[in-house]
Symmetry: D2
Subunit: 387 residues, 4 copies
């Protein structure tokens, strides 16, 4: 008989919806190796919780995360609350013996991330960090091609994460633009994903040097749902933007490859443009998140007169996770990466195997983010190992 | 208080999964105007039904569709059974006073389709036909641009639906290749979608002339799930392929535009390549299903030196249905078109408004399909109105 | 020592410039197997000829094509005059023992084309027809891949030639829109190229059925250089448009493949969009003239999980003609196809080998064009062999 | 009457061919404002010169550049010799009162570049530096859009120049890989172009920090034409590679924009992939050299529901230089940028106007290249103004 896993979810905005959907669909589309019970969703707004628990498929709700963690029918905690709460909740959950999956960025700084890892390691629970893009079938195919040596020795990693949602100066000073809550701007929010993918595909970072900028220093302080267009106000209170609008950095990987990373929320026309390219001695790979069902692959082993970047539709039954979904060419979307992520977490609990990426990966990513920050402050190269 | 709608789903393969998911997510992501109860799923394999009713979110199951239709707690029937059963079920459901949504192709022939429409009209129930691609946000945006006159008077419609899943001669003789069950091959399965989109965007067809071909006349008769790769068998029983592998036709629309349509399952490299382009006096529009979050638009009204096909990411909150999903650039997939379709059906029941596309659209599409068939038989032009 | 070839060019507009450039560059970039002398350019406007002979690199000029043909120092005649003059000039040139290269469309009708072929055959001169797109390196690579069996047995040919230069109703009634001079509209001007490429790559046409339309029936009769934007005139004299604005047709090839062809000058946003796709049992090929340095190729023989359309930059030294030009990735343009065409003509003269494509190909293409015309008139299928 | 300009060209390899062709076509396709005489080509290999002077359209040749410069019938010197000879020739030419156009990179270092500028300024001759990509119509359109404020205030410049021609370890140690002759590797050869475009479009650089690498430290020392594939040799003499295989750097522009630059010869699949993207407050622009007839443009001023990157075919008569070439959609190639460049040089001589880009631009570019070199040596940020 399958193991029973009771789940509690903390946070209910954008990420809460994505995770709720993922918990539900993991069981609907896959033969999950455990019997998942979506026990409770947790947040501060009780009215909202009442309405949405059922809507999102949760059996109940809690308004105190401490109470949620204390429940015996709950074995796993899914943290999608704002970044400044991650450490406290994750440590408490681990100490209470709950498996933990936590959204990225892992914590506000490396020190906190390390506390989370230590707590999880000590209690022996499963821990996973929410780098969902690792679970895009095209990214997994990239990993497979690289592991099979299809692109040979890696020379270059070229990563970008471009958005434009705050390009309007009247876009409000939401919490994501407040360092005390968000920890970081484009760097922690966007680069974090690209760094994780680079580690996944190319390996560890040795040294970094970076730069960053806040193009718009203050913004209207109005209550708004994120993602809406700007409001024009004349007598609106302004508040300072305390995070970076854009961060760029160079890196050398342990394997000798060179890397360049650019994250910005000021690239007009780019909505969610995570893009990376890897060049190796035998071929190259390109991935673009806005076309996440495709992977571009160039092979120097093709016939000399017929080499070219080929655009692989990663929607065949032979591709990772796809056989559970739809026939070839029937594309999946952004939310599916979370389904795969949650399925992976369920599997690690059910099989008592290591979750990947786990808090070790979260700490490593935080180290790199912080190394870039130090480099920006000091104006020179920083060894990631020194952080 | 919201109206209650009890739903019964007939059929549980590929389309059953897509529809189950749609019924569930319509309520989770949207404020549906009715209170939907997923009462029962219906099929012949009781073991399968037992397992999957719960998995797919249905409260129960039935092994007789007649019984399903007879249940008082069920107000709407969703038909995803094979094409040859559509007519009988739909007529019975309508006569029993149930609202009906039916997968395409509507029926095996125009006569049957007309019976379905007549039954539904007589009983006054809501009826909808499953042309789900109308509900892709990019297609709805195309409609909006056309209705606003952005491409002016239409000159050309260029439609293709290219697949390659049966290109291997050892791919088995599945039911889709048997005329007595499927009714038609590429024409009914693929062209039907493109014809409906053409009608939706450009208007009615006046005349058609066509051609078709079955490239591979017989195939191994082995039990197989569709979509899997071919098996090599030597002493396998062969069966004739009685449907078209490819069908092409030309048309003149009532509005004077010229159209060309091509459907095939023999276009190597194309997995689900529904593509259409519309050229008008002021601009053009291109849609490709494999990149369904994008719409290409050319406007002759742009600055003379800066005109070009622009690729619109149809993932903004201002785009149809998107605000319920994810932030800009976070793409949706194939299955989302069904969620919108089901939501539309729910809305027509809740608001007592006409569903679109409905059985009238299904009949019209069938007429065009059949007119092409007649043309192929007779070798000349056929007036659609004569069918 | 190399053979000497004296050349005379008739016509000096758009095509005259392209051919002059080609004659000049063939010798500059290639080791041509003959010693070419650009003896004279011929037209009616002496002032223009005086200026441009030297500019375009011709040693002199003539105002009478009869006189040009009569010159002993001229061994080859290049005809770029309007279509209605092709037959008379070509026949006369052949009878005078001159090698002839003639722009497409070959003649106003099949009968004239056959006279040209007969005259050339009788006199034994080399003859070539100006289907310059055969000489795009990407097209030649397509031919090579097909001949090597890389796409297997052909199922589909899908050809389009889309332009929009006359979409404005105020665009004038230029000679290209007058049937008595141009012979045909989009069909003869645009389809002719695509038909030739289809014959080159897939083989002979068996049957055709088509349709055509003139969207704008009359236009201002003003003197204008072609290609300029429209003039707004109120009291301008109007003249009827007597050629087709768009022509579409279906075909079955001798090899059993199905073909669809569409030529139009009313496809907003498309400037010179000759595009073809060929689908075979093992792969597919796509070519787009506006990106003529690229060829898309899909191979079912690639690894199962890594199949996709690959975009080959046809600019490697291993690709046809490229080693004479620039390093990889340094693209060539439209005019280079003529250089290769002229080089091929020079080679056939120097080596006394058959030119390709020659007047036989021109006649075949004319037959198909005319078969489509007959089909349009009669409303049914026409055997190309009956023309 | 038009001014007479006698021209002498030094160097006759790849660039010599490109420049010869450009001098010839400038007069053929444009109404050049001067009467150009291609007097002599100059190099060391007399046999080659004899053959090619005529082939390339030069009236004669010289084997001594000093003698060439001394000729009274020559008013302008075009330098395409290897980089290490630029300074000496250019200074001598300027002192002899000859106008000078010089290929990039301008010189082996900033000091030499400044000597060239000083000499040219002192003698008052026209001087131009060979950043030919400024003359691609798409780049000029980008400039026009930026100058008209279409993309607003610039936030980001993202430049890449990716090639792969030396990725094979057996590719020989050609002169381009020898620092004493070439001065620099990917940085001077490739970044130089991108830096110039960035200066042209975004403005001056303030600070830089960079990194570089030589992936393959030694290579076979065999005589070879550049561009050919590698030879496999076992007893071949090896020589060290003394230039960079890849160089990356970050920059802040004077205007506050952030820039990232990457040049490499180790990006498998990229042949001549100069690519830049500029993001501004109102829009974005993307250019790719391998598709040099296209410019991508995103405008936040388009209708909210119809914004997207549009691909402009920069082949309309309204686009820079195009009216002299071919009709819309008939693309031009790499070599055409040189024709425009040479025409611009002729014009500056004829009209006694400043050539652009001139030696000032060459010096500025050299400063930036060198600032990056210093940064790589020192490991920190360098003010470009300090070089």
């Amino acid at each position: 008989m399958k193991k029973k896993i009771g789940v509690g979810l903390i946070g209910y905005k954008f990420m809460g919806k994505a995770h709720s959907n993922a918990w539900r669909k993991a069981g609907m589309f896959f033969d999950a190796p455990a019997d998942v019970h979506m026990q409770a969703i947790c947040g501060r707004d009780e009215d909202w919780l009442k309405q949405s628990a059922q809507k999102y498929g949760w059996n109940g709700y809690e308004t105190s995360w401490q109470k949620l963690i204390g429940r015996e029918d709950i074995h796993a905690i899914d943290i999608t609350a704002p970044s400044d709460m991650h450490m406290e909740i994750a440590v408490a959950a681990a100490e209470a013996g709950k498996h933990v999956i936590c959204e990225k960025p892992m914590a506000l700084n490396v020190a906190d991330a390390r506390k989370m890892l230590a707590a999880a390691d000590k209690s022996g629970v499963k821990h996973q960090i929410g780098f969902n893009y690792r679970f895009a079938p095209a990214v997994l195919l990239a990993k497979e091609l690289i592991d099979k040596g299809k692109i040979g020795k890696v020379f270059h990693f070229r990563g970008q994460y471009l958005q434009d949602f705050i390009i309007d100066p009247l876009f409000p000073r939401i919490w994501r633009l407040d360092k005390s809550v968000a920890g970081s701007g484009s760097h922690g929010d966007l680069s974090a994903h690209v760094i994780d993918l680079a580690r996944f595909l190319v390996g560890e970072f040795k040294t970094v040097t970076g730069m960053s900028k806040t193009f718009i220093k203050e913004r209207p302080l109005v209550e708004r749902m994120e993602g809406l267009s700007a409001t024009a106000g004349t007598d609106v209170e302004m508040a300072p933007v305390t995070v970076d609008d854009a961060t760029l950095f160079l890196t050398e990987f342990e394997c000798g490859a060179l890397g360049v990373f650019e994250a910005t929320r000021f690239a007009a026309g780019h909505k969610n443009a995570l893009r990376f390219e890897i060049n190796g001695s035998l071929g190259s790979i390109i991935f673009e998140l806005e076309r996440l069902n495709e992977l571009q692959f160039f092979s120097r082993e093709d016939d000399a007169n017929a080499q070219g970047f080929r655009s692989i539709m990663v929607t065949e039954a032979t591709h990772p996770y796809i056989s559970a979904w739809w026939p070839p060419g029937h594309i999946i979307g952004y939310e599916h990466t979370f389904v795969h992520e949650i399925l992976s977490f369920i599997t690690s609990i059910a099989n008592d195997s290591r979750a990947l990426p786990d808090f070790n990966d979260g700490v490593k990513c935080s180290q790199i983010l912080e190394a870039v920050d130090v480099s920006i402050e000091n104006g020179g190269w920083v060894n990631v190992g020194d952080i």
